[in-house]
Subunit: 392 residues, 2 copies
Amino acid sequence: MVDTRKVYVLGIGATPIGEHWDESLRTLMTKAATSAIEDASIERKDVDAIFVGNMSSGPLQGQEHLGSLLATWLGIPGVAACKVEAACASGGAAFHQGFLGVASGVYDCVLVVGVEKMTDAITRDITAALIMADDQDYVAFTGVSFVGLNALVYKAYMDKYAVEQEDIALFAVHDHKQAVNNELAQYRRPVTLSAVMSSPLIADPIHLLECAPIGDGSASVVLCSEEFLKKYGGRDVLIEVSASIVATDKLSLYDRDDITTLSASVKASRKAYKIAKIEPKDVDVLEVHDAFTILGVIHLEDLGFARKGEGWRLLKDGELEIDGKIPTNTMGGLKARGHPVGATGVYQVFDVVKQLRGEAGKNQVDSPEVGVTQSVGGVGGTVVVNVFRRVR
Amino acid sequence: MVDTRKVYVLGIGATPIGEHWDESLRTLMTKAATSAIEDASIERKDVDAIFVGNMSSGPLQGQEHLGSLLATWLGIPGVAACKVEAACASGGAAFHQGFLGVASGVYDCVLVVGVEKMTDAITRDITAALIMADDQDYVAFTGVSFVGLNALVYKAYMDKYAVEQEDIALFAVHDHKQAVNNELAQYRRPVTLSAVMSSPLIADPIHLLECAPIGDGSASVVLCSEEFLKKYGGRDVLIEVSASIVATDKLSLYDRDDITTLSASVKASRKAYKIAKIEPKDVDVLEVHDAFTILGVIHLEDLGFARKGEGWRLLKDGELEIDGKIPTNTMGGLKARGHPVGATGVYQVFDVVKQLRGEAGKNQVDSPEVGVTQSVGGVGGTVVVNVFRRVR
């Protein structure tokens, strides 16, 4: 790797996350993209390329070729476009491709859009679509669900580190508390720990309220080069993408030495920190991919914010709060903001950029300079870590 | 766009195309990738990132997350990886992403793999998967098939330019003739024009033998930077990727002013020629995405090798032959080499590189220096044009 061309976030946009019975895949992504383009104060024709992050439009909507579809609906056919998929990290992976596009010098201004439309499919089909993130021939064929796989991780973790479930389930309480002030969040109401612990078991030991919900939504980011920025002025506050790193791991749990850590998360974050010249202590705002409470805790450890087996302490000590040591999932995370799979990685960028710009409203962290997002595909088969820095 | 870092083709590999009842999606792509890595004389661990081009693994195999899956099966979990989709141009789009990866300076050595496994699904599911290349809500819901859409183009073209079908159907005869000497081709036997014209009608006026077949296969390319090349020596013959351009068009035919031309093909090729500093007359070997005979003819025109309405003359005059003005689809094209959808764009690169290296055996073009591949998604919703040059 050599020094690359600098990449900046010029605009962001997103739809609310929820059950959008009156929206389709295309209207959701068109709205988010339009909103990001307006936020960037550019015109649609300024966009050179579109990268759509999406996991399941084929199985759920019978629709592929989302790149050309979105170019058409944005009224800018002609631009380069494609869909990028890395299971639940599809949004993060699309962001990375957009980063490569600008960093390469091939594109000056790219639009990254994450989208997923899940609620208008039947539950059986959604469950089948989600397990496609793992190995069909060696794992999914057994009938295990994606929740089931994470339940194995949860049990192994509690067993290895002798941690109480209540201390892990707190992650859901944390996320719901943050989401109350996020007008785009799917669930804007607090939940108590006892409500989480008494909600139905989905896959032992995972309770319903420990799972990210199924929802529809789309988020978008406009990335650009320094040259483009000079031409278009840009806003007072400027956010640079200091690093964007993708790492993989063996796809399935059965194949790994230790299922209580995601090695892709460790690899991607260490590499990203090195390139961005930061350490965990420099991070002012963090977004982790807490599809289940246990993953939130494991991510805190793998990303270097706590020792193994101790991520839950940050939660319990209030260090993930807005005024804590490492404000995390400040707009509600996957659990409460929501988790429209392929869109989530881009929502994370949206939320961190809001914070770095000082536009996070009641949940604003005090003058953050460095933000990190972590997007996870499958049970850690792919992890994308991005580092953002406010440079003015 | 600024000048980018140079990108080279270091290795290529591919499986035979056919009905591989004894292979799966993963074994096909692992074989092709392994073969490209061996051809490049590098080790697996030298690969920084993997880009998998595939359209329908979700609907057909119930398998997404191909990036992590392939990294796992290659024994190099840790590398960056994702899947890239742009309908039938998925292979071309994945190649473009790999190009961006090296051009950006983020990666020094990337592996591009195209794969599709089609024959172990039932016909109804394959037909449903292919039409996902067009608009589900406005087009596919009518029940029209992908062949049906191309039949509309065929009729409009014959009507507009008063061309006889026999002159267009010749494309199938041409491809089959070339494939005889390609040991990886799905159909290594010649067909006569009368056999083509008397084969069953699939969608009037398209006959069975005017359609690219359904098949399984995987092709792979190793791309690298100049720095990487210096370190690894590389082979005597060296191929540079002079340009890699993606363009879109309005997704569906009903939305276009003229369905006898693919504007994305015109845009992508002109831009690619400009960047590569070539004109059509400089092209020594050409691969066009002839999913149907009519498309082969239209591509020749849109890419600048014939005037509109006259592409068929090149065929009839023998100018597409190995010793013609513009040797085209020299290893059998989509019709006879085969068309495992998401793999095709990479097979095209494989075939052109074989030619530029002088390794095309009985079908070798005399000392070619410049090769062009054109990969098409849907009925031209996406087009990828790549220019290759032998630089030593």
